[in-house]
Symmetry: C2
Subunit: 351 residues, 2 copies
């Protein structure tokens, strides 16, 4: 087990990045600047009007881990095609992921992402809304440009994931205002918000290169499980993660009363943890703002009620389920090994 | 010349409405409620979770004039196919139009549209952002569901219009902060913000039913001209329209210092109107909020500097150019007559 980004992910990022940058050149200069900043390809104010994203000004951050493009390229290779044939699909998934981040950051009022100020705080809410819209439309166009039924099918799979992203984000925000959320509701929300696009990333390359549906579906299943594992770890880091590593303020999810998976698990904890569960419900249900002491106490209650342990164990179960999907899927051995490595990384990452 | 909505537009709305309602059933209940409210198909709080939009609760407003779906159906008939074959394309255009309205209302801070509170004021900004996203994705999926290259091509035309919508809205907002805007910049902005989707509406049905590109391009040209005429009239109504008819507050565009076409024309007025032009520039360039007297004075200055007359005459010129496009396009006579009637309505409407 390791928390180091797998080498294959970094390689994939290098393969995809030129195509990602080239795709942004189709946008107007204003939208390109917002998108390039958000993607970590440039700092604000460095994109020359009318020109390409200048390589010299590229940010060192590089826009997140880029797991989804790596998974998309692996799904191409899973179907026996060379990774290069799936670059468009990988770019499309990454664009949709970033469309959703641009809009989510506005909705959640988040001011920091990937150790940098979020796009809406730099360029304003209108520009960030429009840039998100532009990335969603661009992703579609890239897939459709590639003639043939595969592009169309890949585009529709991505659209289905977009509708689930929307549904998940909508539920996530609604839950913040609710006193109680059931485990089922919370798992559905996480499935929509995170697993759906991960499932799409893990299968879109195969779909785009004409793989049989049975292979695409197995890969999507794998993606669903690692997507849930990803969200579980994300939720754990959102409470107990080190801010200097995650790039998010400490207890950020508790502050907004997010009904994340560990929180809901704690609220619905076993009878033996009833006292802690009740205290947690009361604390998060209070109408007044939560103090630092409240937040620290809430984190402790979640742990005491078993929410932390459940989420850790569930992440492991999802990792195992993901590996089981792969075991019965006919894919090349090296692809199998790389997918497993990414799945393990997702379940053990620290940021 | 008349300002009564052409009968064909109302008929088209009746043809398209069931498909539009059916399309919303693909959304989650939360998104469906926001979309149905925004589209004027229901009032807030009336959409049952999991159910269809109940007919009994439909708003009498009916969501605007629905010119674009009518144009889309006419473009099908222009290609010699029955209108019914273009219903999906008409729905897709209307969904994209409303995606942009949902997001624009947030960005512009508009609180009223079609005599009702805007969606973001009723459901909150996050829900309105997500509902816009959902409509954009839904529009794409409807076109792609219809197998074959035409659906794909129609989807790409619509995506191109979306990128221009984004560009136009971005420029429009940027202009509000600028002291001066050239006529060329302003015409490009209006072309992007309004004419592009109108051009798409006028040709997407033809494209969707496999008409020859030459016909689709002539129809798009026609649409571009009526789109510009539409924007010119919109700008005139935004300053001198009767609030009880337009459903917008009086002088609403001046209040936000919109560099609309009549304003830019007045600022760049003839030498004989230099004094009024300068006073207008000074007045709109002031940093402090504009009083009612300022707004009334600004409207008068725009008129004095010739901005109103220019916009009225330009709308007529665009109407004539649109009619000229049709004259040389081989389409059935009844379709020609109906398109001309809509073009005239657009140039002479009062709301």
């Amino acid at each position: 087990m390791t928390a180091v980004i797998p080498a294959g992910v970094t390689t994939a990022r290098d393969i995809v990045r030129p195509a990602l940058e080239a795709s942004l050149e189709r946008l107007t200069p204003t939208m390109r600047e917002v998108a390039a900043y958000h993607l970590g390809l440039a700092e604000a104010g460095t994109v020359a009007a009318g020109g390409a994203v200048p390589a010299g000004t590229a940010s060192g951050v590089g826009g997140g881990k880029a797991l989804r493009p790596a998974l998309a390229l692996l799904s191409v290779r899973a179907a026996g095609a060379p990774a290069e044939r799936g670059v468009t699909a990988a770019v499309a998934v990454e664009l949709v992921h970033n469309f959703s981040l641009l809009h989510d950051d506005i909705m959640d009022g988040d001011t920091e992402r990937r150790h940098r100020a979020t796009a809406w705080t730099v360029f304003g809410i209108p520009a960030a809304i429009l840039a998100g819209d532009a990335l969603l439309a661009l992703a579609q166009d890239l897939l459709l440009e590639d003639g043939g039924p595969q592009g169309r099918w890949a585009a529709r799979c991505l659209l289905a994931a977009v509708q689930r992203l929307i549904s998940g984000q909508s539920a996530d925000m609604e839950f913040e205002k609710r006193r109680s959320v059931s485990m089922d509701e919370c798992l559905t929300m996480a499935g929509d918000k995170t697993a759906a696009l991960m499932a799409c990333a893990c299968s879109i390359g195969a779909i785009f290169t004409g793989a049989p549906p049975s292979l695409a579906m197995s890969l999507a299943d794998f993606g669903s499980h690692i997507g849930l594992a990803f969200q579980l770890v994300d939720d754990l880091l959102g409470i107990w993660g080190a801010p200097e590593v995650t790039g998010k303020p400490v207890w950020s999810d508790l502050r907004t009363r997010k009904k994340s998976l560990p929180v809901v698990a704690a609220m619905a904890g076993p009878p033996s943890a009833d006292a802690a569960s009740h205290q947690l419900c009361d604390l998060l249900g209070r109408p007044d703002p939560l103090t630092e002491d409240d937040l620290s106490h809430a984190a402790w209650l979640i742990e005491d009620a078993g929410g932390r342990r459940w989420a850790e164990e569930e992440a492991t179960r999802q990792l195992e389920a993901a590996c089981k999907c792969l075991a019965s899927t006919p894919i090349p051995e090296d692809v199998h090994a790389e997918l497993t490595e990414i799945a393990r990384f997702i379940a053990n990452r620290e940021s």
